[in-house]
């Protein structure tokens, strides 16, 4: 039990140190760096031209499909990890079960493949 608490205290300390460094460095930077804003400096960068239209342009819907596929396969890994840890104690039965599960997901991948989701034709 002590070991468990101590380990997670260390994890917390690491995350707190991770937050502390940007806060400290950026605060120290605020004292050191100059601050002379002009109108031109604050315009959006577009290779030196006047920015055209909006900055938050409409982007390709394909990114949404990648996000969907990511969710599907990342959930698969959530199931795979505990299965893999316990695999040596479990029998042939769980291997067949996992093969069916992964097979179903691979059908999904094949479907996306056939639907040309993975084909990149514009930005």
């Amino acid at each position: 039990m002590e070991k468990y608490i101590n380990n997670y205290v260390i994890v917390t300390i690491f995350i707190l140190l991770g937050i502390l460094l940007p806060v400290a460095a950026l605060t120290a930077g605020r004292i050191l760096r100059p601050h002379k804003p002009t109108n031109e400096k604050e315009t959006t960068y577009e290779s030196g031209n006047e920015p055209v239209g909006e900055g938050q342009v409409r982007f390709n819907v394909r990114y949404y499909l990648f996000a969907l596929m990511f969710v599907v396969f990342d959930v698969e890994t959530v199931f795979l990890y505990p299965w893999a840890v316990a695999y040596k104690q479990l029998g042939l039965f769980v291997l067949v079960e996992m093969a069916i599960f992964a097979g179903l997901l691979l059908v999904g991948l094949l479907y996306a493949w056939r639907k040309k989701v993975l084909k990149w034709n514009s930005i």
Partner: protein
């Protein structure tokens, strides 16, 4: 460090843990400083140039000067940017990069947190950086930044899937997700390390890891020829430095993780060489992986964007899943 983990938690112990954390933080910052120096130097040599050689002896202080310059550079935030998210993004990118280092063991006795879900913790936390990159791209309110951010997110989530599935084989062979346990089970001969029995997993892991690091040949989010600089185009000064710092801290983390998972951690390559302390072997393997990443950058051209997603989903993902089942059948037939 190991002995203190079994003691009851007191303020004194927590303070010692904090000190060890600060020591690692300083070491990692030192690593980043000199990784950048050696990267520039080695790529210089590979391209028959000299590399940095002006600041300090042999140019050793070049990166220090660069960091100082970034620190005293004016920090401009575009008028149209979403200020809060714009300021949050670099910090959010950096926090998980340092957080994952908590679970990496260096030798039998030198480690920080020894949690039983170490590998899962690493994978879960490192995914948060993707959010920070999308956030930075979106908050800049700039076309290049937005496209770079979206591209980067698509790339990172596509390669995260083969990356996490490729290590399942290692987990199956070790029966644990504790990184110290995984390193311990690899033997004192180099053919007992995981990279040979898990050769498919190892190759997929390395390719996916290079892509996760956004390094050449997968540095499309920063493709300067088409996107200027990608998601951090509007960032300047120390906020930009934090994005760079994140990349190099992840380089440290991935190099250490590869060493622990596949290259035998602190074990000697040949059993009669085990009189050399484990930390030396660990650092040698770690340096080898870092050099390999730099070498790739000096060798490979950037791949085309339409090949990128195809490689991840059509090649690496089926290979990673194949590796899981090959390992499963092997364990079923020969080990049990």
């Amino acid at each position: 460090m190991g002995g203190m983990l079994d003691d009851t938690l007191t303020w004194g112990n927590a303070f010692v843990f904090l000190l060890w954390g600060v020591v690692l933080l300083v070491l990692v910052l030192g690593f980043v400083t000199y990784a950048i120096y050696f990267e520039r130097k080695i790529i210089g040599w590979m391209q028959l140039r000299i590399g940095p050689n002006r600041v300090g002896p042999l140019g050793l202080l070049q990166t220090v000067a660069d960091i100082l310059k970034l620190l005293i550079k004016e920090d401009t935030i575009p008028r149209k940017a979403d200020r809060v998210l714009f300021m949050l993004a670099p910090a959010l990118a950096y926090v998980p990069a340092f957080g994952v280092l908590a679970v990496i063991p260096y030798t039998q006795d030198l480690y920080f947190a020894d949690i039983n879900v170490g590998l899962l913790y690493y994978v879960a936390l490192s995914g948060i950086t993707t959010i920070a990159i999308v956030l930075g791209g979106w908050a800049s309110n700039n076309k290049y930044a937005l496209l770079g951010g979206m591209r980067s997110a698509a790339q990172m989530i596509s390669y995260e899937v083969p990356l996490v599935i490729s290590v399942v084989g290692v987990i199956m062979m070790s029966g644990t997700m504790n990184l110290r346990g995984i390193a311990e089970q690899q033997g004192d001969w180099f053919w007992q390390w995981n990279f040979l029995p898990q050769i498919i997993g190892f190759v997929v892991f390395v390719i996916a890891a290079v892509s996760e690091l956004n390094r050449t040949p997968f540095d499309l989010p920063e493709a300067e020829s088409e996107l200027v600089a990608g998601y951090h185009v509007e960032y300047s000064g120390f906020r930009f430095a934090f994005f760079m710092l994140t990349e190099y801290v992840y380089m440290y983390a991935i190099a250490a993780l590869t060493t622990v998972l596949f290259l035998g951690g602190w074990h000697a390559p040949l059993a009669f060489l085990d009189f050399v302390p484990g930390i030396v072997w660990f650092l040698l393997k770690f340096a080898l992986v870092v050099f390999f990443l730099i070498w790739l950058r000096g060798t490979m051209p950037r791949i085309r964007v339409d090949q990128l997603m195809g490689l991840g989903w059509k090649v690496l993902l089926p290979l990673a899943i194949l590796n899981v089942f090959v390992t499963a059948v092997y364990l079923e037939l020969f080990v049990k």
